[in-house]
Amino acid sequence: MTDQKNFVEIRHAQKAFGTLEVLKDISLNVERGQIVAIIGPSGSGKSTLLRAINDLDPLTGGEIILDGVQVNKTLPHRQYENHINEMRQQIGMVFQHFNLFPHMTARENVVMAPKMLKGLSKEDADALAVEQLDKVGMLERIDYYPSQLSGGQKQRVAIARALAMKPKLMLFDEATSALDPELVDEVNQVMKKLAEEHMTMIIVTHEMDFAAAVCDRVLFMDQGVVVEEGPPEVVFRNPTQERTREFLRKHLAGAK
């Protein structure tokens, strides 16, 4: 069994596009069951870091380790494919623009991956869909198509879809940034519930209030480095770094 303290390890993460360095030597450990928020201005690299965790945007240097297994292994193509697909089944991701499959109902969206990858029977798959969609409050619209759902509803289905694979880790990439303000809360509620169930979560967000309320740790990133890190009370109320203070001043004063 792995060290609980180093459930997710990011070691010297580096990402460069030619000469442009988007991530400059970032190291981070996340405990099992911890909720980590990453905040920062656009271009700070926070989304890039998140997307490196499941190797969606592979790092150019450094390692990502989940529960003792390195995620971003360099392997010959076929082996890499098998490895990364297996790893990704353990990591759930929720996108800013939902990315629901438009040609499938909510039920089908949720059930597709478990059926295809875990060989669930029709009854088990249906039970799973009902369970997950109920959890996010979308049971009523289980057979609706994404085009028939509001933004908040779509995102909740997206969360259910990710949860259906029973991941060890959930990644949220600005999950509420594309939502109309009235719809943000319903998604936040779902995420809060997940936090209460001790799911390990890494959340890239602009929602400072939400981060403060739900997260155990906050990271402030700017220009590819982690500028400041700590519990929300410290980072938000008494930041030690000037850059953090400046960012918070701009962000909390203006519209979200």
Binding site: L56, N85, R88, M93, H97, A113, A158, M165
Partner: protein
């Protein structure tokens, strides 16, 4: 306008129309197959395969279909390919159409939002599973209308086989113009039949397009 003449000869045009239809169907099938293969090639992860695909599109869209037909039919025997005119027509036009369809199919596939691929891969699907379950079903819905345009072009392109003496609509028109000296009437007969074929095909495409839309 010589209606009596038209009434006398139109049966030959009807017969020829069936040949045009048969040519169109066979060519379309071959074209779609080549198009699918070409698109797959252009999207391959192997640079060499991608190059072959791109070369196929460039060469067959960049030279006249008539010349391609002539190379196959007249030049074929020199490299051991002996085809009759009808066969050469189908194969030549089919490969030609395939180059255009490759771009149509490929265009539809790459137009699918990359977030779709990302979501599928994030769930743990392999490249092939993501393509098969998520990308292609969506791309297929986008492809129907543009492929319909390709099909339209293809039907008109079948006229080229008149140049290698396949007895289809255009050949028949030319033949009867030669014997009756009534080009306008013969044009009308062939033209109306072409337009009927194209109209019916267009309705079929529109129907298929409607059918594959989501809800």
């Amino acid at each position: 306008m010589d209606i009596d003449l038209m009434l006398k000869v139109y049966p030959f045009f009807i017969e020829a129309a069936w040949v045009t239809i048969l040519l169109s169907v066979l060519t379309a099938i071959l074209g779609l197959t080549c198009g699918a293969l070409g698109a797959a090639a252009r999207l391959s992860r192997f640079a060499l395969v991608r190059f072959v695909g791109a070369a196929y599109v460039s060469v067959f869209r960049g030279t006249p279909a008539l010349i391609q037909l002539f190379i196959l039919y007249f030049g074929g025997p020199q490299i051991g390919i002996q085809l009759d005119a009808f066969e050469a027509g189908v194969i030549g036009l089919g490969i030609n159409a395939g180059a255009y369809m490759t771009e149509t199919i490929r265009g539809a596939i790459i137009s699918i939002d990359k977030g779709q691929r990302e979501a599928a891969r994030t769930l743990g699907l392999s490249q092939w599973q993501a393509m098969y379950k998520i990308i292609l079903p969506q791309a297929a819905r986008l492809m129907v209308r543009p492929l319909g345009v390709n099909l339209n072009m293809l039907i008109k392109a079948t006229a080229l086989v008149a140049a290698i003496s396949v007895i289809e609509l255009t050949y028949t028109a030319q033949r009867y113009i030669g014997s009756t000296y009534k080009p306008f009437e013969m044009f009308l007969l062939a033209g109306i039949l072409y337009m009927i074929i194209i109209y019916v095909t267009g309705r079929g495409v529109a129907w298929l397009d409607r059918k594959v839309q989501i809800n």
